[in-house]
Amino acid sequence: MPSESALELARLQFGFTVSFHILFPAITIGLASYLAVLEGLWLWKKNPVYRELYHFWAGIFAVNFAMGVVSGLVMAYEFGTNWARFSAFAGGITGPLLAYEVLTAFFLEAGFLGVALFGWNKVGPGLHFFATLMVALGTLISTTWILASNSWMQTPQGYAIVNGRVVPVDWLKVIFNPSFPFRLAHMTIAAYLATALFVGASGAWHLLKGRDTPATRKMLSMALWMVLLVAPIQIMVGDAHGLNTLEHQPAKIAAIEGHWENVPGQPLPLLVFGIPDMQAEKTRFAVEVPRLGSIILTHSLRGTIPGLKEFPAADRPNSTILFWSFRVMAGLGMLMLMLGLWALLLRWRRSLYESRFFLRFVILMGPTGLIAMLAGWFTTEIGRQPWVVYGVLRTSDAVSFHTTLALSVSLLIFVVMYFAVFGTGISYMIRLVAQGPREEIGHPSTVEAGQTLRPARPLSAAPDDVNPIGQGS
C-alpha cells in the first residue's frame, strides 16, 4: 500500500496541475462565445467598435488557447501516472469520454480556429462568422465531454462491474448521469462570468488610465450587462446543483455546512462563520443564523439534512476545507450580484464610466470569477472524498504506487515549471490587455498586419511587439 503521505502528495500534484489548467479553458470558453457575440453584432450593426474589440480579444484568446493546450497535455497523462488503479478500473468509461474531448478539441483547432484567427480578410464575412461560431460551439462540446466524465465520477450510473473493472452498459445513462446537467450549467456559466469579470476589469483599467474610447466603454458596458444577467442565474443554478448534491451526496452538503447532528425538532441554522474540527466532531466558533439553513437547503421552514455523524468517520469529506471553500465561492457570487446591480444603478445615473471608486471595484473583481470557480471545484472534488468514483472506488485504492521521494521531485518540477512558464504566459496576456484595442480605419485587421498569407499557430495571432518578459512594448 502507498503511504498516507504518498496519497496526499499525489492528490496535491494533481490538484495543482488541474487547477492551473482549468483557468485557461474557462477563459477560452468565455472568450470564444464573447467573440461570436462581437462578430454577430458587427455584422448586424456595422459599428466598427465591435470589429475592433473582436481583433483585440482574438489576440488574447490565442495566447490563452495555446496555454490551455500546453497545460492540457499534462492532464492527458496524469490520470495514468498518478491514478493508475483508477485508470485501469474506470478507463472503460472515462477513457472514451476523454478521447472524445481530445478529438473535439483537435477537430476544432484543425478546422476552424485558423480561419477565425487569421481568415478575417481571406474568407467572406459569413464563412468567417461561421468559423467563429464553430469555435465557440467546439469549446462548449469539449466542456460537455469533460463534465460528463467528471459528473460520472460524482454520481456514477449506467455501468456494471465485471472482473473488477467498470464496464459501460448504457452510454446515455453514463453521460446523462444525475449531476451532469447541473454541473455542466454551473461550470459553463462560471466560465462566462469569469470572462465577463476579466473583460470588465480590462475596460475599467483603460478608463481609469484615461483611455476613454468607444471600445473601452463598450467592453466595460457589455461585461457588466453580462454580470447583471448571469450572476443571478448562476446563483439559482448553484442552488439547484446544491439540492441535487443533497440528494446524491448528502455527506458533502453536511461537510459544507459544518453540520454534525440534528437537534430533534429544531430547524437547521446557517453557519456564517465556524471552524469545523474533524477530530472533535464539532464546529468551533460557530456563528449561526437560525432557520436559514432549512430555508436554503430544504426550501422549507423546518426541514433538516443528515449530519456528518450519520456517516462513518472513514466516509466523511474534510469539513474544515469545504466549509470555507464553499463560502469563498458563494460570498464572491454575492459580490458579483452586487456588482451587476451597482452598475445598473450607475447606468441609470449616467455615471457608469466616470465613477473612479466603482471602476476600481470592477478591477478588484477582475480575478474573482476564476477564484470562485476554483473554490467551487475544490468544494465539489474535495467533497467527493474519500471516493474517486463516488461510493464505488476509494481514492486510496486508486492511487499509483510511487515513493514519496518520486512524488516530491515531480511536484517540485511541476511547481517551478508552472510558475515560470504560465507565469510568463499570464503576464504576457496582461501586457496584451494593457496595450488596449487599436482603432481601425478602413478595413485592416491588426491580426494580419505584417503577416504573410499563410495560416499559422494560435499564438501567431498575438502581436509580436509585446514582450513576454522584461520591459514590455
Binding site: A66, V69, V70, S71, G72, L73, V74, A76, Y77, F79, G80, T81, W83, A84, S87, A88, F89, A90, G91, G92, T94, G95, P96, L98, A99, Y100, E101, V102, L103, F106, F107, E109, A110, V162, V167, V169, W171, S400, F401, H402, T403, L405, V409, I413, F414, M417, V421, T424, Q451, T452, R454, P455, A456, R457, P458, D464, N467, P468, I469, G470
Partner: protein, 335 residues
Amino acid sequence: MGIDLPLLWALIIGFGLMMYVIMDGFDLGIGILSPFIARREDRDLMVNTVAPVWDGNETWLVLGGAAMLAAFPLAYSVLLTALYLPIITMLAGLIWRGVAFEFRFKADDAHKPFWDKAFAWGSYIAAFSQGVALGTFINGFTVVNGSYSGGGLDWLTPFSLFTGAGVLVAYAMLGATWLVMKTEGLLQATMRQLARRTVLLLLAVIAVVSLWTPANHPEVAARWFSFPNLLFFAPVPLLVAVAAAWIFVALGRGRQVSPFLLTLVLLFLGYSGLAISLWPNIIPPGISIWAAASPPQSMGFALVGALLIIPFILAYTAWSYYVFRGKVRAGEGYH
C-alpha cells in the same frame, strides 16, 4: 462481432505514435541541432521551417494518451506508473520547448538567448526521456494483479540510457535531413555535413539495439532467429543497411528531398523491427493487446469518434504541409 476491436485500436494507436515520432521528431531534432549552429539568423530560419506545423504535431501525443486510456486502460496505467519520472520529465521538456518556441519570436534581443537555451534544453530533455521510455518498454514490466509491481527507478538501466541517447540521434537525423530539404546555401551545406555524420551514428545505434535486445531477451531472440522467421525478417536489417547507404550517397550527391524521405524509411524499419520483437504485447513481456483491452462497449463507442475525426485531421495535416512546401528563406518568417 466480426471486428477485432483491440487489433483495430492497436493499429490506430500504433499509427498515431508513428505520426508523432516522425513529425515531432524533426521538430525536436531542430531543437537538438540548434546549439551547433552559431548564427542566430540561421537558428531563426531553422525554427521557421517548423513554425506552422509543430503544435499540430504535438497534438498526436495528446490523442495517443487519451486513446490509450480509452482502448487499453491497463496498459495506460501500468506503463505510465512504471515510467513515472521519464514521463514527467518528457512533459516538462515539451512544455518548456513549446513555450520557448513561441516566446523566442516575441522576446526582445536581451531575452532571446534565454529562450534559445530553453528551446534547446527542452528538446533534449523531451527526446531523451522518450528514448528512456522506449528502452524501458523493450525491457518489459513486472505486473502483479493488474498493477505495476516494479520499483520507481526500474527504468534506469544501461540499455534505456542508451536508447535515450539513440532517440536523440534519430531525431537529430530527422531534423538535419528536414533542414536539407527546407533550406539552402550555407545552412543547408552545414546540415548535409551533420547528416552524413549522424546517419553513421544512427546506423551504429540501430545495430547496437538490434544486438542488445535479443541478447537481453531470449524470447525476442527466439522470435528472430528461429526458422522460418529468420527468412521473413532477414530483409529488415538488410533494408536498414541499404537505406543508410543510400542516404549517405544521396547527401553526397546534393539531393534535397530524398535524404529526409529515406530517413523516414529508416525509422519505419526500426519501428517495424520493434513491432516484430514485441507483437502482440502492449505491456511486454507478457500482456497482449487483447488481455489489456477495455470492454468492447468502450472501444466501439470511442471508435466511432476516432473514425469520423481522424481522416479529417489527416486531410488538414496534409493540406498544411502542402501549403508550407518548398524552401524557407531568411526574412520570410511566417510565425
